[in-house]
């Protein structure tokens, strides 16, 4: 496979992943709406969307990660071999740190992806996760993703939140080079658009960092201070009084007064 085809693979898989992380962030930010918002969203993804669609997305993402990482490793090996004897003095003229640490930020993200899937998708890291239940508008029991996010980022697991935030900083760094670089790799950039895309890539990275990191940060702030960005109290109390067998059902404030759009109240 020629060097340029490898770059196309990096760029296209990178594009798929970059677009995904943005949509994923928007989905997650629903946590700042009443708890039913994100729970309904999770219910929609898992039960109302045809399974072929969900698994189609999952397969595409997995393929993108595998191709991206595999090609990155090949590029790194070949590039190291292309300069068997290094310089005694190294200097860099224009390359940004983001560009030079792509593999490093990528490795942090790879570790993150594995942990993140076990954490919130497979839910094998905490026995509580599988037990979080809530009632939907029709009085049916459904999975309480809101509680899982709160408990997962609570101060008891501060190191998890720290790891998430560090990983999101790596993502921001990675994309501040990657989102512009992928256009170059596909031949869709010139001097004018190089500057514009570089600026856009930096902006994109910062938006993602703020968007994703705001969630663990908001959990800690709500738990530790008087500023109630999220309803941490009912979730953490529910966990404390859990009998280790039955579902943990959290009763949230309906907050009809603050957000009338949440409309229906549990029956």
């Amino acid at each position: 496979m020629s060097s340029l085809v490898k770059k196309y693979i990096m760029a296209i898989s990178g594009f798929v992943l970059s677009a995904f992380v943005f949509v994923h962030m928007i989905g997650n930010l629903q946590v700042f709406m009443p708890p039913s918002a994100i729970n309904d969203y999770a219910y929609f993804l898992h039960h109302m969307l045809p399974w072929e669609v969900l698994w189609g997305f999952r397969f595409t993402l997995l393929a993108a990660v595998v191709l991206h990482v595999w090609t990155a490793i090949q590029l790194k090996i070949e590039n190291a071999a292309a300069r068997p004897q290094s310089y005694q003095v190294n200097a860099s003229v224009v390359a940004t740190p983001a560009a030079r640490y792509m593999a490093f930020s990528g490795m942090i993200m790879l570790a993150f992806i594995v942990f993140h899937i076990l954490h919130y998708t497979v839910r094998s890291t905490h026995p509580e996760f599988k037990m979080f239940m809530t009632m939907n508008d029709d009085g049916e029991k459904m999975f309480d993703a809101y509680a899982m996010m709160i408990y997962g980022f609570s101060s008891e697991f501060w190191y998890v939140s720290a790891f998430y935030i560090i990983s999101m900083a790596s993502l921001a760094l990675h994309l501040s080079h990657g989102v512009s670089s992928m256009f170059q790799s596909l031949g869709l950039r010139n001097e004018l658009w190089r500057y514009r895309l570089n600026a856009f890539a930096a902006f994109y990275g910062i938006v993602l960092f703020i968007g994703f990191s705001s969630i663990p940060a908001a959990v800690l702030i709500s738990e530790k201070t008087g500023v109630q960005l999220l309803q941490t109290k009912p979730v953490l109390e529910g966990v404390k009084s859990w009998d280790k067998k039955s579902p943990i059902i959290t009763n949230y404030e309906n907050c009809l007064s603050c957000c009338p759009s949440s409309g229906k109240v549990t029956k």
């Binding site: 020629s2 340029l4 490898k6 590039n79 292309a82 300069r83 390359a95 170059q184």
Partner: protein, 252 residues
């Protein structure tokens, strides 16, 4: 002015070389290469082996000179070949580490001289126009818009020095190859063999053992002829088109 040099000395291809320190008394007005000439005169007078380095025109047009100074190919000045670099750029008492280009595809022949035959072979693979275009024709036979003529001319100004490879953390030859491809692919005489040329030159570039471009931009930073990353984007684009046409079995 007095300069402390640390120069890469290597007897021949395959030998392990090392940095050797020399002190040179030189003048601010002398060029970097003249300063090395002074060093060599001193060495010859002492009966030692002189330092080998490539040079020819000494006026920034041939692309022979090829020294990395303190880690920067062609030294600290932008858009300047090392033969056009003057000692007034440095201060009395400076220490300068002088190394050859480092790349698997550019083996060191002796001291600071490397074999850049890999570039010649990339050109031989397609960096030319097959048909004889004859002597200069009447100017308006091939109308070429001025911006395109300028773009091709800028790409054509690459002197094949190899600083781009030397500066690239991946030893990628993309800037050189792309400059040559863009120059020819942009003009009517070259367009006829655009796809074939693009595929052949990239194949040759890969076979020579250069690394893969990862869009650092170091090449553009050191290029004495200010070749822009634009040409690499064009190569990426032209290659994608050519590869797709070939895959689909179109005539190229």
């Amino acid at each position: 002015m007095n300069i402390h040099l640390k120069v890469w000395r290597q007897k021949q291809k395959g030998d392990s070389g090392k940095l050797v320190s020399y002190d040179v008394e030189t003048d601010e007005g002398s060029s970097f290469l003249e300063m090395l000439d002074i060093l060599n005169e001193q060495l010859v007078a002492k009966g030692e082996d002189s330092v080998s380095f490539d040079h020819d025109c000494r006026e920034g047009i041939c692309g022979m000179c090829s020294l990395s100074i303190n880690g920067i190919p062609h030294g600290p000045d932008g858009a300047t070949t090392v033969c056009q670099l003057h000692m007034r750029r440095f201060k009395d008492g400076d220490t300068l580490v002088v190394e050859p280009w480092r790349s698997r595809a550019f083996p060191v022949v002796k001291d600071l001289v490397v074999d850049r035959g890999a570039f010649d072979r990339i050109i031989q693979a397609g960096g030319f126009i097959t048909s004889r275009t004859g002597s200069a024709v009447e100017a308006n036979v091939h109308p070429i818009p001025k911006p395109i003529a300028d773009y091709a001319m800028d790409a054509a100004s690459c002197i094949g020095c190899g600083a781009c490879v030397a500066a690239c953390p991946n030893s990628s030859a993309m800037l050189f190859t792309a400059a040559k491809v863009s120059h020819m692919n942009s003009l009517p005489q070259g367009k006829a063999e655009k796809d074939k040329r693009t595929l052949a030159m990239v194949d040759r570039m890969d076979a020579e053992g250069f690394g893969n471009c990862t869009n650092y931009g170091e090449c553009q930073g050191v290029c004495p002829k200010e070749i822009k990353l634009d040409v690499i984007a064009q190569l990426n684009r032209d290659y994608a088109v050519a590869k797709t046409k070939k895959f689909l079995g179109a005539a190229i």
